[in-house]
Symmetry: C2
Subunit: 206 residues, 2 copies
């Protein structure tokens, strides 16, 4: 029983998430993390052990929050499957245009981490894989519902279509980081939905 912390661990973690999100793992120094969180080095190392450990906690927190948000959108049973998928894409697109630094999207920490370090760090790759599976399961659920309701083509099963949705979202995030504007991303989303419905005309309502 002694002196309590003067900072909130979750707030510090959120600040670290943002720092890693914007600059990536390698380019973010421990000094950057001190500045971002407002903590001293001692507090950071006392609380999070190492830069890598802090990163894995930040990544885990990011994935929890973001994936939970996406899953929540996909579980709005009062909407049709197609509406839910469109809502998912809208959430993704809105995110890309809300979270920008110097006029450019910071993308998605999951995608950024997959690209930057999944290939060299099996433990982080495993964290990413678990999150991916969670998202794919959610995608599959909506797709199956859409197929039962006749909204989504049954030419391909949900196991095949879920990775397609995931790939399109990842591609949209990379495109946003590359400078794509909103109309382009919306068009990509529309086209992807066409592929799912299996009919030749998009159905976005403006």
């Amino acid at each position: 029983m002694a002196r309590p912390r003067t900072f909130d661990e979750e707030r510090a973690l959120d600040a670290a998430v943002w720092a890693f999100w914007v600059k990536g793992y390698e380019a973010t120094s421990t000094q950057d993390l001190c500045s971002a969180t407002g903590l001293g080095r001692s507090s950071i190392y006392n609380t999070f052990s190492s830069k890598r450990e802090l990163f894995t906690r930040a990544l885990a927190r990011y994935m929890d929050v973001m994936t939970a948000g996406q899953v929540a959108v996909l579980e709005q049973v009062e909407r049709s499957a197609m509406e839910r998928l469109r809502a998912l894409f809208d959430v993704v697109i809105d995110g890309e245009f809300e979270r920008r630094v110097e006029g450019r999207s910071v993308g998605c920490l999951t995608v950024n981490t997959t690209v930057e370090i999944a290939g060299r760090d099996p433990e982080i790759a495993e964290l990413l894989a678990r999150d991916l599976e969670r998202r794919l399961a959610s995608f599959r659920g909506v797709i199956e519902a859409g197929q039962r309701a006749g909204e989504i083509s049954t030419a391909r099963d949900a196991d095949s279509l879920a990775p397609f949705i995931n790939a399109v979202i990842g591609g949209m995030r990379v495109s946003a980081q590359g400078g794509a504007d909103r109309a382009v991303l919306e068009s990509v989303a529309d086209t992807a939905l066409v592929a799912l419905s299996g009919v030749g005309s998009p159905s976005r309502v403006d």
Copy 2:
């Protein structure tokens, strides 16, 4: 006049491309570049001025080679537009499974660079943007040909569909880095082609 170089500049550049491709810009040290190229520090700095300069030259070379390869596939006029697009996807997928380190794809240097540094380096972002425009132009050409031939839906114009193809390819590369197997990537490609044709059934011939 004076002492000639004992190394080939392009070979050194290719080695640097691979080093940056595998580890990314930040994580690749100048020592890594010396090891990869077989050159001493003096030779590298004498020839390429700085790490960043070497990176921009490596990236430019990568983009030249890769984009030229993709454009060549898309300009095989003896094949139909859909066949050319399928061939493009096949080239992408084959690449993801040919270029691996420790069982994982190294992805695409263009995508990796967009994610890692486009947001913080306008000059590199500009290089990437120019390469993107070159690829999009090639995509548009094939799409328009496909639309004239009745293979590709005219519900959306080529300006809209080209970024879709780009996004799907980017998403496939990220998926590959995340551990997706070949069947998954082929399925994603098939589904994307369905979206272009605007009909409900894929046409892969095994």
